[in-house]
Amino acid sequence: MRMIYAVILLLAVLVLNFSMMHLAPGDVADTISQSMGGADQEILDQIRADYGLDQPFLVQLGRYIGNVLRFDLGYSFFYNKPVTELILQRLPATLLLVFVAQILALFIGVILGVISARKPNGIASHFVTMLALFGYSAPVFWTGILLLIAFSLKVQLFPVAGMRDVTIIGGFWVQFVDVARHMVLPVITLGSIFLALYSRLSRATMMEVLGSDYVRTAKAKGLSEREVVYKHALKNSLSPVITLAGLQFSAVISGAVLVEAVFSWPGLGTLAFQSIIARDTPTILGILFFSALVVIVGNLLTDLALRLVDPRMRGKG
């Protein structure tokens, strides 16, 4: 049943986006002419005819939906490439960035949350609160540029842009270190927002759990503070955090657009941004389709993770 809903939703998203793209004035022929420094009317008409842009709206829409149902995401007018190829080329970079940022933010966020929950009025707790506030309110691109100035220009620790240094030749580990070096700043930038969210949430739930009856019982049994916190309380306080992490999945992808732009990270975000500007409808719709897929998979993973930490969930659905 859920799958059917998902398919209907996906179709609705496609129709809606296609219509919106169509409503906007101008089309990809205009952007192609921009990238060429102007074009003759004849050339513009030829481009529109080549790509079927001169057909009525419903014909174009029908054709597109038909193609998607046959798992053909179409051809990018702007990049002269099949959309699937474009997306598959860019997807790994985004997934790598998003997963690493998400996992690190989750891990560090929960630890910081727990530390500050144990002594809510201690210095560490105030520090975490400050950090969270900063991370959440600072615009991503600003954090990014600031990090670049600090760690690429003043202290030249990390490279400015891209994912790899193509002048470096070497085996797997050399490449691995190179990519890792390129990842540090974008991951910190993207992770900072989520770190804030997770630390705040885990702090709040942890404080709530620490005040509950079974924790008091555990303490009364004579268990050490460590055991109480990490064995009993943490497990129970995790499920809201994991739910949030799942919900944030789509937000991480949208956040990646800005981070990718600042660091020229060759991922889907940059592609999405460029294709929206270029009115490259097939690519935009293709990316939306893929993002929807990623969100669905993300939700599924969240469900699984919840079952893992919370046995009560295992019997359901």
């Binding site: 205009d30 921009q34 420094g37 102007g38 400015v160 600042v262 060759p266 460029q274």
Partner: protein
Amino acid sequence: MKRIVRSLVMATALTASLAGFSQAEEPKKGGTLVTVLGTNVRNLNSAVQSGIVTGFPGAQLFASPLRYDEDWTPQPYLAETWEVSEDGLTVTLNLVKNAKFHDGTPLTSEDVAFSVEVIKANHPFKAMFAPVESVETPDPYTAVLKLSRPHPALMLAMSGQLMSIIPKHIYGDGEITDVKTHPRNNENVVGSGPFKLTEFKNGEHVILERFDDFFIEGRPYLDKIVMRIISDPAARAIAYENGEIHMGAFESLPRIINRLKKVDSLTVTSDGYGAIGPIDWLAMNTTKGPLADVRVRKAIAYAVDKNFIHKALMQGTANDSTSGIHPDSPFYAAQDGYDLDLEKSAALLDEAGFPVKDGSRMSLTIDFGWPGVKPQVEYVKAALKKVNIDVEVRASADFPTWAKKMGSGDFDMSWDTVFNWGDPVIGVHRTYDSTNIFKGVWSNTQGYSNARVDELMAMAGVETDPAKRKALYAEFQAIIADELPVYHTNTVPYHTIYNTDKVGNPPVGIWGTSTPIDMTYLK
């Protein structure tokens, strides 16, 4: 009688002096030049795709018949020598005999004929080869272009990125118009230029390596060129500064240019943009409303202070531009500007029948197509307020939205940037030609029509005597500056930035990076 324009001997002497342009030291061989592109490349085949982003890799991959020196004099490249017949209707190219494509196939006159056909059918600048009726190939090393009328613009159109010779045996496998979307435009690209394609990763980089069989002995000097794609100007600036990038072109943000000028390791220069000829202007729609009256357009020019634009907005990075032709072009004829004069402006508006009523003479709109020129637009609004013209700034969501408004004449005023693209016939005529009104963006979007201007452009287009051509364009520029379909304000402050200690002989000729960089080397 035919006149031979250049001989190989002279050219060798000249290229030697070219190499010595920046410094006397001996060029070193080898090394990887790391450079940058500000936007993603759509297409590497410069025979079907124009634009500055394609131009850089395109001119390395594909060779053209001619190249130009700093003085706008044509030099041999694929064409060893060339002849223009007395009547101007026949242009004969004598090709070098040792030119090979990257796959080892010899380059012949067949490829030249094929390329002309492809460019005519697919390239956006129709004016370049419109008069070329046919290309005859009497032997493998002679290509004869037959013209329907004399066409002096052909010389520049045969250089830089404008006439890429592409191999017929690769791109000739389908319809001529299909070359536009040929799969080999982006992968396994085969040209005859100094560098061949190693890897093109969309959105990431273009990597080129030395073509060992390049037809000019001993060149190119570099082993490899890495063109990274970094679209964020702030990130690019940091990369120049910390040495990650050796060289880059088309940087235009005044703030960043001025900052990088202060960095000791970098050279920042505005040389190298003469043929591309980018100029900024205030476009005025002459077909409707108060702007149809030339006095109103003049009043606006008198009220908009160019000095403010140059000093405050461009922060001294741009040059004055007073006519439709770029100041670096040999055809440029400087016109008297409209120095700030609010009284004169008010008087002109009164005379045109727009007195001040309730504090306002008229309401106009102004558009802009990209965020970079918003300050100019806001300034025009403030400046015109002083002569009681209310201006509403209309932002466009993106380029296509703006392009639609411009292309259909749905605007009063707009900020615009247009490139000359070599000869005035290619990039200048389109703005003023009365047969090119409202034909999409960068056509005659001002709806301007003047029979004498049409006539002057037609005459200059076929005039083979450079001095007479220059005189025709001088009259043309005077009329444009007087009738103001557009008010020319400044050149686009494009700058080339390179690491002074690392890059030898950077491409700062008339075509900038849209020309082969076979003479550039790493120190």
